[in-house]
Symmetry: C2
Subunit: 329 residues, 2 copies
């Protein structure tokens, strides 16, 4: 039991309260503050040395990486992580990797240097073999990223099932020529989606056409590009699984302006159920993903494992998703 | 001159490179690493103690607060801040205040405890008198927030002029009954906007109707609410200055569904020129605000002042904005 634990127990308050008293935090009741200070005096500890120990042992900080913070999925994921962290009195360092391997390494160095207590990887830029050696410095958790062999908790949602449901819905609507957009093709999460897409096609004796596959599609701008590229094809798809609401919104707008009717000439399905789905014309059929829940669970699991010396075990949590049917299909 | 400065100068490399060598950062060329280690040896310093000093003197971390990270304005602001910080080898701690005074205080405590070197306030929850005492611990800068008497740099854009331009545009289009949406009414930035709105009305002998003023409008959802409230009025505005593209998108969608034609029955003007303006039907006339530039300038100014003992002086930078006319007016 640490000294902080001992004081918390004797005062019947949380460690957070003890920590706040030691850090002169204004939001502790006078009564609790006095009680904690009294016990510290009884035990013959000095508040300033305890505060130093507190800071030396733990940074009370976690880091999370995302490829780009201004994508709604990632900003909502971070919101989920930091609301849980706030509740548990943790600070959150946010790293944008900008899809850069070096930035990810800088973040991992923080764990090595004990500047953070644990890390949530919301992006995975390096090979797992480069990340693995950092596990000895503290817990690392994969969130919304997947890796076959990583011996760490992986919290995501069922990408395979989500894509399978989305594409099955398009097939039910009578479509036989279905395109696919993804972001970074090397991501294992994206590959799972693609497998779900292909499974739905194969079960219905449909082909997966190379010409109808688009990648690096993240934004509204990318949706504009995908529609333009698609329009130039001699044989065009009649439906598009976009993997992203922003991309879906871009495709739909560009299509409607070009006189291509959605959903009659082209059905479009989004991904994530962002609010943007409700303001386009037509509104966007999409997959509801539990983004905030994902962030909260990841933060809760990490916090639970901080301070324990044991490495976290591999454990794959796949939260369920839901098909939301609107006008675009 | 610090030891790090001395080594950097002798090796003709940046302080960042020296810091990376000391922190065993993998992305330094073998040649530079050897050169730095050689000079350290010549000077009879030990790498590990230098690394400790480096960490003890400066956290190489700044903090930024925003009310909510998942609003596109704030996620783009943070992207601007962290791209500049990354370039200058600084880390960024991001705090969501959730409009909470206590969270802002926790962030300010980090400055006091030297866990961060400086702070950018992208939100202002407490009275300035509560924030002022923290200035003695390090630089604080206001970004996208305004305060009359704060003796710190204030980097924003010209809210008064932006609102004046937007409302003048609506008046030029023939509107005489113009509504106004804002977010937190107590924000001085929002008050500047309101003054610009009123100035444009008064110059054209138009009234500012209390019934046409809406507040706490941030999101698409709020846009839905504003349209519903507006529809229930006996005397309705024919144009709305929304102060926010998300709110504009919500109002437009709800209006079109209700058979109220935009812009014929109701003209709507947004704010920020988010991509969403390009995918709604009709597309959204808006004010282009230099968000990324704002974040970058704020981070650059803060970094420039870190390590200097002098308090930063009051200095108000107001970046210009631009009216972008689209279909919604």
């Amino acid at each position: 039991m640490t000294k902080i634990d001992e004081i918390a127990k004797m005062c019947n308050v949380s460690k957070t309260t003890v920590s706040r008293v030691l850090n002169h935090h204004p939001y502790v009741s006078e009564e609790k503050r006095n009680q904690v200070l009294k016990v510290i005096k009884e035990l013959d500890y000095t508040p300033s040395s305890l505060a130093r120990q507190l800071r030396a042992n733990k940074s009370q900080t976690m880091a999370i990486s995302v490829p780009a913070i201004d994508h709604p999925f990632f900003s909502q994921l971070i919101k989920g992580v930091s609301s849980k962290a706030l509740e548990k009195d943790y600070k959150v360092l946010i790293f944008q990797t900008f899809y850069n391997v070096a930035t990810e390494m800088e973040m991992l160095d923080l764990l090595k240097n004990k500047e953070v207590d644990g890390i949530i990887l919301g992006a995975l830029e390096n090979e797992w073999s480069s990340i693995k050696p950092f596990l000895k410095y503290g817990p690392i958790l994969l969130c919304n990223e997947y890796h076959d062999s990583a011996a760490v908790p992986i919290i995501g949602y069922d990408e395979f099932d989500a894509a399978y449901k989305a594409v099955s819905h398009l097939i039910e609507r009578g479509h036989k020529k279905i395109g696919f957009c993804c972001d970074t093709p090397s991501s294992q999460a994206q590959q799972l989606r693609k497998e779900g897409f292909i499974k739905a096609l194969l079960e219905n004796d449909l082909q997966c056409e190379e010409d109808w596959m688009f990648d690096h599609a993240f934004s509204i701008q990318d949706g504009f590009r995908v529609f333009t590229e698609m329009s130039s094809l001699a044989d065009k798809p009649t439906a598009m699984f976009t993997g992203n609401d922003q991309v879906a919104a871009g495709i739909i707008k560009k299509a409607m302006v070009a006189g291509c009717r959605v959903p009659d000439d082209l059905a479009v399905i989004g991904y994530d159920n962002q609010f943007i789905c409700q303001v386009t014309t037509p509104t966007i059929t999409t997959i509801d993903t539990p983004i905030a829940e994902l962030g909260q669970q990841a933060a809760a699991k990490l916090i639970k494992n901080l301070g324990k010396n044991a490495e976290m075990k591999r454990e794959v949590v796949r939260l369920p998703t839901k098909l939301i049917v609107r006008e675009s299909t």
